[in-house]
Subunit: 332 residues, 2 copies
């Protein structure tokens, strides 16, 4: 079925076996939530509830919410499953595939990419088109690779904000990211050190490797300055997300032990949605370390009252990792 510029294939027959369903959508799909709820109620006999909590990825499954209302399944829209996540509740993943002019996207790539061998990566909403693009590029004489990714990655070529493993595989000389924003291409650039192109399939604008490298340098400068600001930190707050796919308890408790061995303060702060204003209630921390979604420290640092580091950056802070071995934090 079509909702706006998305194709969403709802497995009605599968849903019929459940009495009460909780539907979960990322922010961009919530505008279709009521329409989708109506269609499901019409075509099944299920009672349908909609989660209005924030939803940031397949790491963020509203299982507790579903249980709290006595639902017997969660329908999670807009992300692909995370294969190595242990889930003790029926979750049905329904991807939302955004319209794409595959011909135009392919052309844009082969007119701009200078290398002759390419590793293609993208996000869930575009993943269905990646093989057509590969074929188009191959017919133009390119060598195209689509990497497998590790156990957190369900489809070849998929990258997540917390996992760029599919970009690491294969022998291509360049990487082409299809999607929006700088976070993914910069992350890919950091892990691969190869030229990275970023093509936005909506605006059809392409960012060249120089631009991505420039963004990477800006990010690194910012991150090094936050690490420097934390040099004399004595009071650490270690952030743990309760979200099923972001919860890194062992890492967090290990960090606490390590900090306390240095005779400094460390406290473990658990929460669902990490927000600067919620942490503000506790008073001043000299440094926050986020073991939750890696994007929080990178995208939102400016809103926190204290420097906020990733666990990787903490390793640099305490000298366990060399400065030039900087990578983005990842979850595997």
């Amino acid at each position: 079925m079509r909702f706006g510029s998305y194709r969403v294939d709802i497995p009605f027959d599968q849903l019929k076996r459940y009495k009460r369903l909780l539907l979960q959508f990322p922010a961009g799909l919530k505008v279709y939530a009521r329409e989708i709820a109506d269609v499901i109620e019409e075509r099944t006999n299920s009672e349908v509830f909609i989660s209005a909590d924030p939803c940031f990825g397949a790491c963020d499954l509203a299982i507790d919410l579903a249980k709290s209302i006595g639902a017997d399944a969660l329908i999670h829209f807009g992300h692909l499953p995370i294969p190595n996540l242990k889930i003790d509740f029926p979750v049905i993943f329904v991807n939302a595939v955004m319209d794409m002019d595959v011909q135009k996207v392919s052309e844009k790539i082969y007119r701009n990419v200078r290398e002759k061998s390419i590793n293609l990566v993208t996000t869930a909403q575009h993943i269905d088109f990646i093989h057509s693009i590969k074929r188009n590029l191959e017919s133009q004489g390119f060598l195209v690779d689509i990497g497998e990714g590790d156990d957190r990655i369900s489809k070849p070529g998929l990258v997540l904000g917390c996992n760029f493993s599919s970009a690491l595989h294969g022998n291509a000389n360049s990487i082409v990211f299809i999607g929006t924003g700088n976070f993914h291409p910069v992350g890919v650039s950091l892990v691969t050190s190869k030229p990275v192109y970023a093509l936005d399939p909506v605006s059809m604008k392409i960012k060249m490797p120089e631009e991505i490298a420039n963004e990477k340098d800006k990010l690194l400068k910012k991150r090094y300055s936050l690490i420097a600001l934390s040099k004399d930190a004595n009071k650490f707050g270690i952030i743990i997300s309760s979200k099923i796919g972001q919860r890194r308890l062992e890492l967090a408790t290990r960090l606490k032990e390590e900090i306390e061995k240095m005779d400094k303060d460390a406290h473990l702060l658990v929460l669902d949605n990490v927000s600067p204003s919620l942490l503000r209630d506790f008073g001043k921390f000299d440094c926050l370390i986020s073991t939750a979604c890696p994007r929080i420290a990178i995208d939102d640092y400016d809103n926190f009252d204290s420097p906020i580091l990733t666990p990787i950056e903490f390793e640099i802070l305490v000298g366990r990792r060399e400065v030039n071995k900087y990578v983005l934090d990842s979850i595997s």
Copy 2:
């Protein structure tokens, strides 16, 4: 032990039996969270985690959060337990008692209250002093009653944002509320129709019944205007909180049925912390009905894009309740 102007009696011996504890605090106590965590770690062998999620009352127990980190008990600070709440997890309630000059408070009351019989009500942080105040007032010739409350109320004289039952009991001619803000005294005034005095034990300012009645009129005017704005509503959003003590599923599904029988749209929206911005993602609702904490519709209506009603106000909207039978929504 003392933390700022609070007395907090932590049952260390009881806590020793747990390996991993999650501590939960309302916003105003979070500033002492790290100090309290340190004391507990020192005096027990427990590993201590702090919840950084919002916490609005004893209705809002971080049990799922505690389970998510493998804690074996939740220590909930700053509220009294809700006796009729079914809880399947060890929760230890530790109240935080705010300092009070009982003599001064008693004097302020007997110098200002015109009636000779008084029903005393207050909130958790002041409840420990209510019997001393009663004795002081009695020695001045007042008849003082402290009402028992229903099964949601753990101590005589306690009022909650969702439950004023302790104000209903007894035969006093007036009610004295000890605490801050207008919400509770206005609520008490609405359920009892008696003169209500509100004494803030911090500022030592007393609001006389005329002032509370005035606040009540303002509130009623606002509420009637929101009901009027919803007269032609076709698209309803019914808000359900997933919080253990705010979750009114049956009420919500009954409302949905009732609205659909009127040939109008109704969708069930479940979330943990009800926030206007989260609801905005869904697009326009003509009217929201909140079955969550009764204070959300009353305190926050101005931040929502649609009129937000309580279930009681919905009854007025559809003619199931007379306009002059308005009461605040309550949970019992």
